[in-house]
């Protein structure tokens, strides 16, 4: 877990961990906070609208966000987000295994930084 102080936190990666998976041309990334106190901050920072806004060329379809309240996690389901998927994509990472780090690399909601 991160050793950084609360006022040094900049990225989603500083408060949460994530894993990416693929089915066809749909990518899903599940994201979990280390500390339940950060869950509201995660929910504010990682919204379906923001994902569409941040990656318009990559995420071409709908984004659905499932909230797993009791485990303090989110599941982002991004359709048409794998450049065609393993069948068609010529991206070296045609499964989008690294997409979890696209999400973890987002900045935290600016209004929440101390």
């Amino acid at each position: 877990m991160t050793e950084r102080g609360r006022n040094e936190r900049l990225l989603v990666r500083d408060i949460a961990h994530a894993r990416a998976g693929d089915k066809g041309n749909t990518s899903n990334v599940n994201i979990w906070v280390y500390d339940p106190e950060d869950f509201e901050l995660l929910k504010r920072s990682v919204t379906a609208e923001r994902i569409k806004r941040e990656f318009p060329k990559l995420v071409r379809g709908n984004v659905t966000r499932y909230v797993i309240e009791h485990l303090h996690g989110l599941n982002l389901v991004m359709s048409e987000a794998l450049e065609g998927g393993v069948n068609a994509s010529l991206n070296l990472d045609s499964h989008g295994k690294s997409w979890s780090y696209l999400i973890l690399g987002l900045t935290l909601d600016a209004g929440e930084k101390i």
């Binding site: 050793e3 994530a18 894993r19 998976g21 693929d22 899903n28 060329k57 485990l71 389901v77 991206n91």
Partner: protein, 448 residues
């Protein structure tokens, strides 16, 4: 012998086609398992296996089957552990016969090997069959079909186990169903016990990717540290008759099992957590609870299930020609600029000199590659690699890609070295649905 205190001990011996073997041997030897599952089939893996079978009717099963069986059969026989696997891929019959021959050569007598068939539904599907999750029908794809496999559920595996099988080998056995089946058999769960089918499906879902729940696909130094990942252990589930389970691993192995590793796997490749469809049940993971017991033990409970799906998913594989990939590296001052110049040259020549109109992908690894379409790039890479890729049904075009990239050594930017080029077969897969009543799985037992 396997431990037996009411709970069923089931372990993973492979979570994908190329998964490790040494950790599986360790688990088979020390794990005191009732059952070990080797899940080795993805949608594309089965399509490639069909191509292998077309080239040689005796092949078409997992390339590591022989090595895995040689290493695991003796240990599993000694421990009384049943092996369940979809290593049969496009040719379960040949895989079962090969396994029987290996067992005989190892001196393992009276071993019962069940060969599960019936997943190949090529003769049952019409060309106007619509796709499951996109517009169009099979007839719209003007490429040769290499195979069609329906996802089989637990039923045929349960029947084979009831007939006394020590090894169950199939083709497109659904991943979680291979775990659910021995749980149904051991605990006496019926197809109408939907909550228990949901619980067993959760166990299968958590276990089916092997080390992804024991620290693999997880480590992130400084944030998520994993001890001795190089010697990571495969997972074990201890499953009660009610369906609750403890996920753990062997003492002395590397890796870790904690709440975080279990959470990441819980929703891996899951969309709606309340609706995870398998051939056996619509599983509900939305209310699953986790309890970290320490010492690499996590209790999972409260999975649920409803409705047995009336249709089965079918993967249809098409021959998609070949994938050509070629690269050259640049290092030192302004390497990224030289890499980008090389990229421009290759794109221009493939298009204008050779008339290749299909999309060619050009990356400059170290400056912009995996996240290129996401809009992330850096201009200052000092150690970069041009990577060019093209998927094509015309072999000549693939060879041109390699030639053009190699020609950069003398004709491209300064200091380019380390050319490599490779052409590999390509497949395309689509999904359709089929009425489950049409699919009739069967099994036959071979004895050594």
């Amino acid at each position: 012998m396997a431990k037996s205190n009411g709970t069923f001990r089931i372990g993973t011996g492979a979570g994908f086609s190329a998964d490790r073997l040494d950790a599986a041997v360790d688990l088979a030897t020390r794990g005191e398992l009732h059952a070990m599952v080797l899940e080795c089939l993805g949608e594309r893996t089965v399509a490639f296996a069909h191509r292998d079978r077309m080239a040689d009717p005796q092949r078409g099963y997992n390339a590591l089957l022989e090595r895995r069986m040689c290493a695991l059969l003796p240990a599993c026989r000694r421990a009384g552990t049943v092996i369940i696997t979809n290593m049969g891929a496009a040719n379960p019959r040949a895989a079962a016969e090969r396994t029987r021959d290996i067992a005989r050569a190892l001196g393992i007598s009276a071993l019962k090997i069940a060969c599960v068939e019936g997943d190949d539904v090529t003769s049952l599907v019409r060309p106007d069959q619509p796709f499951m999750d996109e517009p169009g029908t099979l007839a719209d794809i003007r490429r040769p079909i290499v195979g069609m496999n329906a996802y089989l559920g637990a039923d045929a595996i349960v029947s084979a186990l009831e007939a006394g099988a020590d090894v169950v080998i199939g083709g497109r056995l659904a991943d979680p169903s291979m775990y659910l089946a021995p749980l149904m058999r051991h605990h006496g769960w019926q197809n109408s016990d939907l909550t228990k089918l949901g619980a067993g499906t959760l166990v299968g879902h958590l276990m089916e990717c092997g080390m992804q729940i024991t620290g693999g696909y997880f480590a992130d130094p400084g944030f998520k540290d994993v001890p001795n990942l190089a010697a990571c252990g495969y997972p074990i589930a201890e499953v009660s008759a009610e369906g609750g389970a403890i996920i753990t691993k062997l003492p002395g192995t590397g890796g870790r099992v904690n709440e975080a590793t279990v959470k990441e796997q819980l929703l891996y490749e899951v969309h709606d957590p309340a609706s995870y469809l398998t051939p056996d049940v619509t599983a509900d993971f939305s209310r699953v609870t986790l309890e970290d017991l320490g010492k690499d033990r996590v209790r999972v409970s409260s999975a649920a299930g409803r409705t047995r799906p009336e249709k089965l998913k079918v993967t249809v594989g098409f021959d998609a020609g070949v994938l050509a990939e070629a690269g050259v590296s640049y290092a030192g001052p302004a390497a990224a600029a030289r890499g980008r110049l090389a990229a421009e040259i290759v794109e221009k020549r493939l298009k204008e000199s050779h008339g290749i109109s299909s999309p060619v992908r050009v990356d400059v690894i170290g400056a912009s590659s995996l996240f290129a379409t996401a809009g992330k790039a850096r201009a200052d890479g000092e150690d970069v690699r041009l990577h060019v890729a093209l998927r094509t049904t015309e072999r000549e075009q693939a060879e041109l890609v390699l030639w053009e990239v190699e020609s950069l050594l003398c004709c491209g930017p300064a200091g380019g070295g380390g050319y490599r080029g490779v052409i590999t077969p390509a497949v395309e897969t689509k999904s359709i649905l089929i009425d489950r009543d049409l699919v009739k799985p069967t099994f036959e037992i071979l004895v050594t």
